[in-house]
């Protein structure tokens, strides 16, 4: 497979908050490129700044420094070209599931006929398994169902890329597995470039093409990048029994438990080399786009 041009380029993205004792740097010099159709996961300890990175990509937080290029165009504000699924589904409680999805659809396809817009919303709601509950209100739906609506809302915008901020963090493990399948199915159909934030190692491995491990905050940066070699479409049972699975899992856990406090940029040895060797440890079906520089 030939390497595709990156659809999202993050260059030296930094976020600092001013405090009386000088700026508190949350994220420093975060570099990452995402190829078209790639599924990348950011993993790291709580409070390491991974959500900050996602929020900057979504345009909900302004980056203090650095730039972001989405589909060849520099962007720094939020827009419906990036569908966002939040940790809490953030459905508007005074609108039904259908109206929640329609709010976005109306906004993006304002010149399409009403019938088409309704069909689009209905289509995505039925794909996520809410065909019978689309006119229910968020308070009548379980958390898992609300998150389904959140996913449908993001996909219905048919965005250039999808941003997921710990989308399954608040769900029980069974619902989580179910929704991961829903997400993968939609992702496969739409070939949508996806950036997801999680702290669940298994979720990261099962879903992504590449896992970006972030060093601990403050001043978090890319600690290590791991390419996940499993072929797609993935079947959970097969992935779990694959001998490489435990190896990858151990690699991630070792990083999170032992090496996450190390910041590559502080080490004297050239860091590009170091991360590169790890990243290329497994042959990946998706082109490994140069990660750190």
């Amino acid at each position: 497979m030939t390497p595709l041009a990156p659809i999202l380029e993050l260059f030296k993205l930094s976020k600092a908050y001013p405090t009386p004792k000088g700026p508190a740097v949350i994220v420093r010099d975060f570099n990452l490129n995402l190829a078209k159709g790639e599924f990348v996961t950011l993993i790291g300890h709580s409070g390491c700044g991974k959500s900050t990175v996602l929020s900057m990509v979504a345009g909900l937080t302004d980056a203090t420094e650095g730039s972001m290029i989405l589909a060849g165009r520099e962007t720094n504000e939020a827009g419906p070209d990036r569908g966002v699924v939040f940790q809490s589904p953030c459905l508007l409680p005074w609108l039904s599931a259908f109206e929640n999805v329609m709010l976005g659809v109306n906004q993006v396809y304002f010149n399409a006929p009403k019938v088409e817009r309704r069909e689009l919303a209905e289509y995505y709601l039925s794909v996520v398994g809410l065909g019978n509950a689309m006119h229910k209100f968020p308070r009548e739906l379980s958390q898992g169902m609300c998150q389904r609506v959140g996913i449908a809302r993001a996909f219905a915008l048919q965005p250039k890329m999808l941003l997921l901020d710990e989308p399954f963090g608040m769900l029980d493990s069974l619902t989580k597995i179910e929704l991961q399948e829903v997400l993968l199915e939609l992702w496969r159909r739409n070939k949508l470039t996806t950036l997801m934030v999680t702290h669940d190692v298994d979720e990261a491995i099962f879903l992504s093409d590449r896992v970006v491990m972030m060093s601990d905050g403050p001043e978090a940066e890319v600690g290590d990048i791991l390419t996940i070699p499993f072929a797609r479409p993935r079947i959970r049972a097969e992935v779990l029994t694959d001998p490489r699975y435990m190896e990858i899992r151990n690699h991630l856990l070792t990083f999170l438990n032992e090496r996450s406090h190390i910041r590559p940029s502080r080490i004297k040895t050239p860091r590009s080399e170091e991360t590169e060797t790890v990243a290329c440890k497994y042959e990946s079906p998706v082109a490994a786009v140069t990660s750190t520089q």
Partner: protein, 294 residues
């Protein structure tokens, strides 16, 4: 004892007991009249009524009832401009309250939104609001009279339909009643979860769309709390206003009856004001509850 609880008698019995205690206390303090008939030096019969008691001019519960009966039995009767059934008076007051309250909401809600949305607006206007808020309606009314002096709307027959005192009354009700709406709306707008605003940002909703689809629905429960408190104040203010400008209504009736020495009607007016205020509050609570659960 168990039977007592099963019937939920306590819910009825306890308020009744409390009511009887209050009535008893009232009867104890109230004065009572004693009519003595004597023959004076010229041989004429003289009837003399003297009042005794702790507060000898306060009518007793029984006297109050006898004196109030015509107003309660015929609540909508109109015997004269200042002699009308009690509900007819209440209706006149309510009409005035409704107008003033409407002005309060129309002014208060947008101000609340500005306060909630803009930190600078809050910084600029909050001190003024905090200073104007505790000012009594009795203080606002004269200012209203000055503000609208000379205002006169005359109908075809030459009768003034809307004059200075009417405008001053509305002004006073509106300016006193709008603060809870202003402050609660501001709190409600500030309390709109960041998540909802993020949704608006991600979808790039326009300003009016964000207002009507996100801000207003989200702040509505707070706004209704403000609306309810405002209505309570508007009803409080109307009595003071009517007393000062002498308009027919419950408050006007109260003041006029005080001047006419029929003290029993003061108590009738107070109870009517209380009852209507309670009903208004219940009504608003019901509406508020509907929005809270939505």
């Amino acid at each position: 004892m168990k039977f007592f609880y099963q019937l939920k008698l306590d819910a009825i019995l306890l308020p009744v007991i409390a009511l009887l205690i209050c009535l008893g206390g009232w009867a104890l303090i109230a004065g009572h009249g004693k009519t003595t008939v004597s023959v004076d030096d010229w041989g004429d019969k003289v009837t003399k009524t003297e009042r005794f008691g702790l507060s000898k001019n306060l009518p007793s519960p029984a006297e109050t009832w006898t004196a109030s009966k015509p107003y309660i039995v015929e609540p909508f009767a109109k015997r004269g401009e200042l002699d009308q059934g009690i509900l007819r008076f209440a209706w006149l007051s309510l009409k005035l309250v409704a107008q003033g309250y409407a002005i309060a909401l129309l002014l208060g809600t947008p101000i609340g939104f500005f306060l909630g949305l803009s930190k600078n607006f809050t910084r600029a206007f909050d001190p003024i609001i905090q200073i104007l808020r505790p000012v009594s309606p009795l203080a606002w009314l004269p200012l209203g009279m000055v503000l609208f002096s000379g205002l006169k709307v005359v109908d075809s027959t030459g009768r003034t339909t809307f004059g200075t005192s009417d405008a001053a009354a509305l002004f006073t009700i509106a300016i006193c009643a709008m603060w809870p709406t202003v402050l609660n709306t501001a709190v409600g707008v500030r309390a709109v979860p960041q998540d909802y605003l993020n949704v608006a940002k991600v979808l790039k909703l326009s300003k009016p769309k964000t207002l009507f689809k996100i801000l207003i629905p989200s702040a509505l429960p707070y706004m209704f709390t403000g609306f309810r408190l405002s209505l309570g104040i508007a009803w409080l203010v109307i009595v003071a206003v009517e007393m000062l400008i002498g308009k027919p209504g419950v408050g006007g009736f109260l003041w006029q009856q005080y001047n006419a020495n029929s003290y029993a009607h003061i108590i009738l007016s107070i109870l009517t004001i209380g009852f209507i205020g309670y009903i208004l509050d219940r009504m608003m609570s019901l509406i508020e509850g509907r929005f809270r659960s939505a």
